[in-house]
């Protein structure tokens, strides 16, 4: 009976299959399989970013290479170390209350306290001074040219102070966060999330895919498709396809404390033996073999290195003691990163070395490192960049809850943090390379594959200004409009 009601509910909210579409009909957008979270304190996947971008506002947003003010009315560098920020009186939460300096401060503090990665912004800030309800002054420790770039990334949402206090006690409130974006959550379940505009725009329904793929015949039910489309259909003629540069990289991380390997060399040998050929094939043409800890296009990436060769060379220095290949192998995976359809491919990859491999999903992305390192040998995860900086990939090797390796190195942590104090991109890139060399020395992580671009299908007749300028998870859907004659 319960299943029947769920079925009816799904039917009710299935995309309108009628050919004719009104300009006010909801925008139908697919999402990859994901556990959508509006909590900026945790680790959000890219699908959460997409939805969260519509619901929450930030002080400043990205628009391609430029920055645009969002909740802020003005941002002025009074001195290189003193930034005066004035909030816009138009910036309001969904309950109609204005966004105040206190809300901004509360939000930043919440993120700082809750999140154990991507803390670079906070190490740059000396103090935040509230002048009044509308004016805040950031005092920086030193000149940071990339300050606004980081602040504009999707990581720094503003939420109402009262809401944050209540949400600390009641996690269910995150289903309908009190944000200051153009949309607010109308419905939220395991199948779809419906957003309705606060002032203007057309409603949006995000459909959560189960398989991360869609048959070509089915695309007629949607307006924007961000998942894989399989097969061919005439319906594809009704869509424009764009390839946005939005690199994500898939990794396998090792628990250094696992009994399966006694030292670095054994880990290196294991990692170097991993055959990604079939895995790559399963991801299709969009995927390429990863050669570096950082994906292509991310600051610090080097095309000149090949991590496989590094691991291979390390493994060959000293022959391994015979590994216990019959030992059980626990392979954990982050559910936000690895879709169900690919699990077996990963499993097969490990099975070639350790046949007794078992999978263990990890849904708690906030402390996945700690959870994993307790009783699993390896972890599958993917990492997507927000502002194409190597730091975003290195932050998980700091001494924090995300660190899955079981190795904590204060020196490395400081090195990673200190890299953020380098103003010059070239200096940072060099610092990242040094850090990466140290990480590779430990043989605790191997990049498996990279998906540099993301295909997005956009129904013809939709006016989507500037959609090609930035990643889909940074794009505000409220700018989209339907044309009158759209079918």
């Amino acid at each position: 009976m319960k299943n029947f009601f769920v079925f009816v509910l799904i039917l009710l909210f299935l995309p309108n299959v009628s050919n004719s579409t009104s300009v006010t009909d909801p925008l139908r957008v697919t999402l990859q399989p994901s556990v959508i979270s509006f909590d900026p304190g945790g680790i959000q996947d890219s699908q959460s970013w997409i939805v969260s971008r519509q619901v929450n506002c930030q002080l400043v947003q990205n628009l391609g290479p430029n920055y645009v003010l969002d909740a802020a009315e003005s941002i002025k560098y009074i001195t290189p170390l003193k930034i005066r920020l004035k909030l816009s009186p138009k910036a309001k939460f969904h309950d109609g209350s204005p966004v105040t300096s206190y809300d901004v401060l509360a939000s930043l503090n919440y993120i700082k306290q809750s999140r154990n990665i991507l803390g670079n912004l906070f190490i740059w800030i000396n103090k935040i001074e509230i002048i009044d309800d509308q004016v805040i002054i950031f005092y920086l420790k030193k000149q940071i040219p990339q300050f606004l770039r980081v602040l504009s990334s999707t990581n720094f949402k503003i939420l109402k102070k009262d809401f944050l206090i209540k949400a600390k006690k009641d996690k269910s409130l995150w289903k309908k966060p009190l944000g200051c974006g153009g949309y607010k959550v109308s419905e939220f379940n395991d199948h779809f999330i419906k957003l309705i505009p606060v002032n203007q725009g057309i409603p949006i329904i995000f459909y959560l895919s189960k398989t991360n793929q869609l048959n070509a015949d089915e695309i007629k039910y949607y307006d924007i498709i961000t998942i894989n489309v399989i097969g061919n259909s005439k319906e594809l003629n009704n869509f424009n396809i764009i390839d946005t540069f939005d690199p994500s990289q898939f990794y396998i991380g090792l628990n250094a404390k696992s009994k399966l390997w006694k030292n670095n060399n054994e880990r290196c040998e294991f990692l170097s033996k991993l055959d990604t050929k079939n895995l790559l094939a399963s991801y299709g043409n969009n995927s390429i073999k990863a050669n570096d800890l950082l994906p292509q296009g991310v600051l610090g990436y080097s095309g000149a290195v090949d991590v496989n060769n590094t691991y291979l060379s390390k493994s060959s220095k000293k022959s391994l003691s015979k590994p216990d290949l019959k030992a059980p192998f626990c392979l954990a995976y982050l559910t936000v990163s690895i879709q169900e359809i690919y699990k077996t491919k990963y499993l097969d990859m490990i099975k070639k070395i350790y046949p007794n491999v078992v999978l263990k999903p990890i849904a708690n992305v906030k402390k996945f490192g700690k959870i994993f390192s307790k009783d699993c040998d390896a972890l599958l995860f993917a990492w997507r960049s927000n502002y194409l900086d190597g730091y975003e990939y290195l932050t998980m090797f700091e001494d924090n809850d995300a660190n899955f390796s079981g190795l904590t190195n204060k020196k490395l942590t400081n090195q990673i943090l200190n890299s953020q104090n380098l103003a010059s991109a070239e200096s940072r890139a060099k610092a990242y390379r040094q850090i990466i060399e140290q990480i590779e020395e430990q043989c605790i992580v191997k990049p498996l594959l990279t998906i540099p671009t993301r295909k997005i299908y956009i129904r013809k007749g939709l006016n989507t200004p500037d959609i090609g300028l930035l990643s889909i998870h940074q794009y505000y859907f409220g700018n989209i409009a339907r044309q009158e004659d759209q079918n």
Partner: protein
């Protein structure tokens, strides 16, 4: 119709050519300006590529995609897109919605990565783009010019040097120019050459056959104004030439006729002399009246012959003058003229006489009308003939001469057969009831009478009752040379020179009851002898001098010219109705008195 001038024709052509040249220069200028702009754009593109490459290389080698995209975005514009393709075939661009560029790159990746081409054009997404490529090389000291990727630019700029469009444009300009030349040639041919050829042909025809009927030159509708004016002048000249030609032909004919008439006049003298001699010898056997008629007729014929001969001998004579005189009007004594016509008719109809009753008021006898004597005489003669021919039983024709309102009325009334009322219009229009083709006399009479100012011709007729023809003609008043009344001062003396004693007797009788004294002369020499002695007192005399002094070599005019009496001189002659005498009278400022009305002129004393 508005005609073009040659000037405006040429001006129009120049304007058309000017417009074409201006348009072609303008468009060619635009073309080469575009060409220049295109070359500059290419230069700029090279520079942009060079600068952008330098900037991108430093970011690309550390894989700073955000900075690369920022740089690409800065360089890109609405019409120009830049993108970078790295060695791993990853395409970095500022706006990924322009996926047609990345698709193009990925389809031609080998070709693009080699970057071994100069700029070229390619249609992408239905637009034409100029594609340029430059290799991004890491040029620091340790990298050994390692290739990092290629920088590509797609410039939406429609330009193709010497494209088919330019070829079409140049062809069109050449064609337009050719067309304008052909058009102008056609216009020149139609508007200038064709009329000139027509004019030339006309002149050739006229020169070959001058007697050809003159017609206006045709086919000049589109000719320029100047040619129209030449044509009009030529038409006028042709007409004048033709008229002159016709006049000369007529004059030559007249000359022949006149020569013939002169010969007749000369040859007729001898038979006239015989006739005069015979009548003189036979006058004792004939009635006086008949003798008088004969003598008058002979004298009239002789006068005509003499007049003709004297004119012929005159050095100033010309046929044209005669013709001119033949159609010239001058004062005619209407009573005298009518009386002569009646006299001739009576003699003409002597074998079948009719009663001609001629009544004229006294005042009418001194009335002059300005008419062509022969024409008037012919008309009156024709009218009398008509009246005579209509007579049947009662053979009488009444002719009257009256004055009404400054007009003299000549009425000819017969009691003949009359004209049926329905046929009067035909008769007035020149149809004869009796002789086919001879009725023209009546219509020409009407035309002539109505040519006078206020002149009127009236025909009233009733069948079997008779016909009345009335001619209403204005008469002349206050003629300079004709005295209605001879005004005398009682203290003045009359000097009379006449070879006829009866005239002396006539004047004596007229002044019988006055105290006027006469000094009579019969010969001019006597008169001139006396006049020389009395010259100082000439204002005391009135001179009555006869024109024809048969015994003297000098006539009255010669005497008048010598003594110049002015308004005290009266020339008495039977030729007073001749224009020659009237002119001499005007010239000498003397009076002229026709002999026939001597008795009608009143005398008044002051």
């Amino acid at each position: 119709m508005k005609y073009l001038t040659i000037h405006s024709l040429i001006l129009r052509f120049l304007i058309i050519i000017g417009i074409i040249i201006f348009a072609s220069t303008f468009l060619t200028g635009i073309y080469f300006n575009k060409y220049d702009e295109h070359e500059k754009r290419k230069d700029n593109l090279y520079k942009i590529h060079s600068i952008l490459s330098q900037l991108i290389i430093s970011s690309l080698k550390i894989s700073d995609s955000s900075e690369v995209r920022r740089l690409l975005s800065t360089a890109s514009s609405k019409e120009e897109a830049f993108l970078v393709v790295d060695n791993d075939r990853i395409v970095t661009m500022s706006d990924y919605s322009q996926n047609y560029f990345s698709n193009f790159v990925l389809k031609n990746i080998k070709f693009i990565q080699d970057c071994n081409f100069s700029m070229f054009y390619k249609y992408i997404n239905n637009k034409k783009y100029l594609i340029h490529c430059s290799i991004l090389k890491n040029n620091d000291l340790f990298s050994k010019n390692e290739k990092l990727g290629v920088l590509l630019s797609f410039t939406n700029y429609q330009w193709q040097p010497f494209s088919w469009l330019m070829f079409c444009f140049l062809s069109m300009i050449a064609f337009l120019f050719f067309l304008s030349i052909v058009f102008f040639r056609r216009i020149l041919h139609k508007r200038l050459l064709e009329p000139l050829i027509i004019l030339k042909n006309k002149i050739t025809n006229i020169s070959n056959e001058p007697n050809t009927e003159v017609s206006c030159v045709k086919g000049f509708n589109n000719a320029p104004l100047e040619l129209i004016e030449i044509k009009d002048a030529f038409d006028k000249l042709l007409k004048s030439l033709h008229d002159e030609y016709c006049r000369r032909m007529a004059a030559e004919k007249m000359q022949i006729l006149f020569d013939l008439a002169v010969n007749v006049a000369h040859d007729i003298k001898s038979p006239l002399a015989v006739m005069a001699l015979s009548i003189d010898e036979a006058k004792s056997h004939l009635p006086d009246e008949l003798v008088n008629i004969f003598q008058d007729a002979i004298q009239s014929v002789r006068d005509i012959a003499n007049n003709l001969l004297s004119r012929y001998r005159n050095t100033e004579f010309s046929v044209n003058k005669v013709i001119e005189e033949g159609s010239q009007a001058w004062p005619v004594l209407i009573y005298s003229l009518l009386e002569k016509v009646i006299h001739q008719k009576k003699h003409e109809w002597r074998n079948n006489l009719c009663d001609i009753e001629f009544e004229a008021e006294v005042t009418c006898k001194l009335i002059w009308v300005n008419a062509v004597p022969n024409e008037l005489r012919r008309i009156l003669s024709n009218l009398l003939n008509n009246a005579y021919e209509s007579l049947s039983n009662y053979r009488q024709i009444k002719i009257s001469l009256t004055l009404i309102d400054n007009m003299i009325i000549i009425s000819i009334i017969d009691q003949g057969c009359g004209i049926p009322s329905e046929k009067i219009p035909f008769v007035l229009n020149g149809y004869s009831l009796k002789h086919t083709g001879k009725g023209i006399g009546l219509s020409s009479a009407i035309k002539y009478v109505e040519s006078f100012s206020g002149g009127k011709f009236v025909l009233t007729s009733e069948q079997h009752q008779g016909t009345q023809v009335t001619l209403k003609i204005p008469y002349l008043q206050n003629l300079d040379w004709f005295p209605d009344t001879i005004i005398l001062n009682r203290k003045q003396h009359i000097v009379l020179l006449d070879d006829d004693p009866s005239i002396h007797e006539f004047w004596k009788n007229r002044f019988r009851e006055t105290e006027i004294t006469f000094i009579n002369f019969y010969h001019s020499n006597d008169f001139l002898g006396w006049y020389n002695s009395a010259r100082d007192r000439r204002h005391e005399f009135i001179f009555f001098i006869d024109y024809k002094l048969s015994t003297d070599k000098q006539n009255g005019i010669d005497i008048m010219k010598k003594i110049q009496p002015g308004r005290n001189g009266y020339l008495i002659t039977s030729y007073a109705e001749e224009l020659h005498f009237q002119n001499i009278a005007k010239e000498l400022n003397i009076w002229l008195i026709p002999k026939t009305i001597l008795g009608q002129i009143s005398i008044r004393f002051t």
